[in-house]
Amino acid sequence: MTELLDLARTVAGWAGAGEEVEVFASRERTTEVRAYHGDVESISSAEPAGVGIRVVVAGRQGFASAGTLDETVLKETLEDARDNAAFAAPDDWVGVALPDDVQAPDIELWRESLASMATAAKVEMAIDLERRVLGADPRITGVRSAMYGDAMAESAVVTTSGIASAWRLSLCYVVVDALAEAGGDTQTSHGLSVARVPGDLDLEAAASDAIIRTTRLLGATKPDSRRVTVVLDPEVTSSFLSVLGSTLSGEAVLKGRSLFANRIGEEVAASGVTLIDDPSDPSAFGAEPYDGEGLARRRTVLVEQGLLRRFLYNTYAARRAGATSTASASRDYRSAPAVAPGALALDGGAGTQAELIAGIDEGVYVQSVSGLHSGVNPVSGDFSVGATGLRIRNGSLAEPFREATIASTLQRMLKDVAAIGADRRWMPGNAAGATLVVNDVSLGGT
């Protein structure tokens, strides 16, 4: 980590007179093991590293990146960024972040024990995971993939304005895709577990999730088209929040690309909805002590009891909006900092999933959605996705359905939120899941 910080400092030190320079350097160690038929299908290991350099001269920004930390290439990359800056239009708000008085959260996301774990133990986990799924239910016919993966990542940001931040984190996960068959019908679904160290991975939960989620879809039929109450599985809620998060970007607002522009203080959601982005919470897998511009990560309340409170900002968007950064610069070394949530979650749920379902006479439980990138328009708010899951009848889960769509608009869905479960669970990515009940959604089928 110190090494990476020193390297970033060296590069920033090459800045010329009148230049602002930001150097983002990162280095990772990754392993990915796939098991198949009780044996290793593949093991990939790598130590990728790279640097992204931003140069601002007289309000013009240039950026260049390289997938190496080789010093000669770093010099050329800085030259490229400098040269690129000459072609951008001048913009008063462009610039690197300035140090602020916010203390970085004291969170330890790095686990040394992962570094010393033998590859053989990782292989054993992947094989064990496959075995747990295969033997459990006669309807399970196979496992498409059983995978263990981990990453130990170090990052550093140094700017000519005085920022020098470095941090590191480790993550590991297992994911298994099961196949089940009955009466000529094939279904597939997955189960996963994420943790900071392999010892905290729950293989049994991942395997049983995969089995239950796959077998309960067997015999699924296409439902009738109608308006229904939908219950979103925590995984689906997590994807939904992630899309919603992009509409709360201060940059999208400034550029006339957010449906929430000019609506601060207004009622945009049902009164039970409080949405918070808090990447300083170490229990979130999107947690980090610093953002992509080197500012301390912080908690931001976006929606409070249905009222829109705040947007997310990086340095550029904050300056332009006359606000302060929410330290929401998200990036890897290949890109300049953009605005994105780090760890979104709905606050204050109540009740188990079964309790929420018990209150619904007729509806659908949505286990998974598809086409989020093609069917949700974050500018217009149109929301339409493929859906698979179970019917709800008289307060209980009933027959499975497939080949259906659920549709509404992001605006309406927020207002139609009827209940949030207390089953909050952090997912890989930037949003937590929880069971979510939404009224009056169009179910498309026959």
């Binding site: 240039g62 997938g67 951008a88 016919t141 169009s442």
Partner: protein, 462 residues
């Protein structure tokens, strides 16, 4: 890109633990992108990635290690790491003799790296003006220019040594229109496996006007229907239908694991007799064109479905080698950091016989889709979705009201059977990026105007 002796030494190192196959993939990729947003050229960015991946196979196990260090030390370390995984138990020295295949050159007439940055940036401003000239309701315009040059070298222990130089250039525009009904977006893009000569034949202002008109049209759009209807898809607007409905399901890795509804159906009638589907990596300068695939084999044209009969699956080399058959040259990877997999190139439905206007006239009630966005498929069930980004109602054989964005959902085998008319107006569509197991690769698609008798439309209108 690398000295042949060093390449041979790396392969020998990969075989040292008794593995039967070793491969090295070397890549040097440089790219430039420029973005205009909010009326300003925001930034110009350059990137470079250079490295190598070594793959070693022993039995059912594959070891893979990659490195950005292309020195002998770095490459041998990667070879040893990959070999340690794919340990066959034996120890041996095998000398690899490499065939001397002439390297493939690029097809660009004007290499983008020789074009002044100012010239690239000027395209963006023209696109911005083009879109905004469509009316005051156009409130925002984003335009992106991008070019890339990807040089690859592949060698393996069978003696193969091949290289390719892939140059791609693209341009996209997104416009936002605002009116009483809120905001709408319109998108248009172009991209080819060629150099800066792309802009000799492409008017970026016209491209921008198309994006702007899409957004403006949707301001007056009504919610899409909810339920099952006949759907007519305009030429070149919906090749993604086949990419999702059956393309992925014909990839041998998924077929081999029983994760495809098309497994075990070779030789069977899987589609309407009007359907002949081809995957062609050699096709002109299309977006998915490649000289060699990422396992080093010369690209090919493969007929997947002929007159509705499933003729063959798509293969990568290692899987084909195991099955004792030739590869279909569909082994591709996002970068040297990734293992190759079975992937499509340019996938398209060949021309039919019908007049496209007549297809609409003969549809009493349905949806006309002029432009599709991306899609997604569950190959095990065959259920797939794809988004419509420009669509209209068909009433009494006439295209009438515009519709708001929505996803369509269908089942691959059913949809293929339900194609009842195919037009004679074949066209390729926009450049796409296909994602599979986290890897993105450039792909093309295309089709003539066609009709599916029943697809489920995920709108909100009754």
């Amino acid at each position: 890109m690398l000295d042949p002796t060093l390449v041979a030494n790396v392969l020998s190192a990969g075989l040292r633990t008794g593995a039967e196959f070793a491969e090295i993939f070397v890549e040097d990729r440089r790219a430039t992108a420029a973005r205009l947003d909010d009326g300003k050229v925001e930034d110009l960015t350059s990137s470079r990635e250079r490295g190598a991946g070594v793959r070693v196979a022993a039995g059912e196990t594959v070891g893979y290690a990659h490195t950005a260090d292309l020195t002998e030390t770095g490459l041998l370390a990667a070879a040893e790491a990959a070999a340690a995984v794919a340990r066959a138990g034996g120890v041996g020295t095998r000398i690899v003799a490499l065939a001397n295949t002439p390297p493939l050159g690029h097809h660009a007439e004007v290499l983008p790296e020789t074009v002044a940055k100012a010239t690239k940036v000027a395209l963006l401003t023209r696109a911005d003006h083009g879109a905004r000239a469509e009316g005051a309701a156009i409130r925002q315009v984003m335009a992106v220019y991008g070019d890339s040059r990807r040089r690859i070298l592949v060698a393996n222990s069978d003696g193969l040594l091949a290289s390719d130089d892939q140059v791609r250039t693209r341009f996209m525009v997104q416009a936002v229109a605002a009116g009483d009904t809120g905001m709408q977006t319109g998108y248009e893009s172009t991209g080819f496996t060629m150099g800066f000569e792309l802009f000799d034949g492409t008017d970026v202002e016209e491209l921008a006007r198309t994006a702007a008109r899409r957004a403006l049209t949707k301001l007056a759009a009504r919610p899409a229907p909810s339920g099952t209807l006949p759907v007519v898809i305009k030429q070149g607007g919906g090749g993604v239908l086949f990419h999702e409905a059956c393309g992925h399901g014909l990839e041998a890795d998924l077929v081999g694991k029983g994760a495809s509804v098309f497994a075990g159906r070779k030789g069977e009638q899987v589609a309407s007799p009007l359907v002949t589907l081809v995957d062609d990596g050699t096709m002109g300068s299309e977006w998915g064109r490649i000289g060699i695939d990422d396992e080093g084999h010369a690209s090919a044209r493969n007929v997947l479905i002929e007159d509705g009969i499933l003729t063959d699956y798509m293969f990568d080399f290692l899987r084909a080698r195991k099955e004792g058959r030739p590869t279909s040259t569909n082994g591709r990877r996002e970068s040297y950091r990734h293992l190759p997999m079975v992937r499509m190139t340019n996938t398209f439905l060949v021309n039919g016989a019908d007049d496209p206007d007549e297809i609409v006239r003969q549809t009493p009630h349905g949806v006309f889709v002029a432009h599709l966005g991306g899609g997604q498929v569950n190959t095990a069930t065959g259920d797939f979705v794809f988004g419509m980004t420009e669509a209209y109602l068909i009433e009494d054989g006439q295209i009438t009201e515009p519709l708001r964005d929505a996803n369509l959902i269908g089942n691959g085998p059913e949809v293929l059977r339900n194609i009842d008319v195919v037009g004679n107006d074949f066209a390729m569509g926009s450049p796409g990026t296909c994602g599979k197991d986290g890897q993105g690769v450039p792909v093309g698609d295309g089709q003539p105007t066609l009709r599916v008798t029943a697809l489920t439309i995920g709108g909100t209108a009754a």
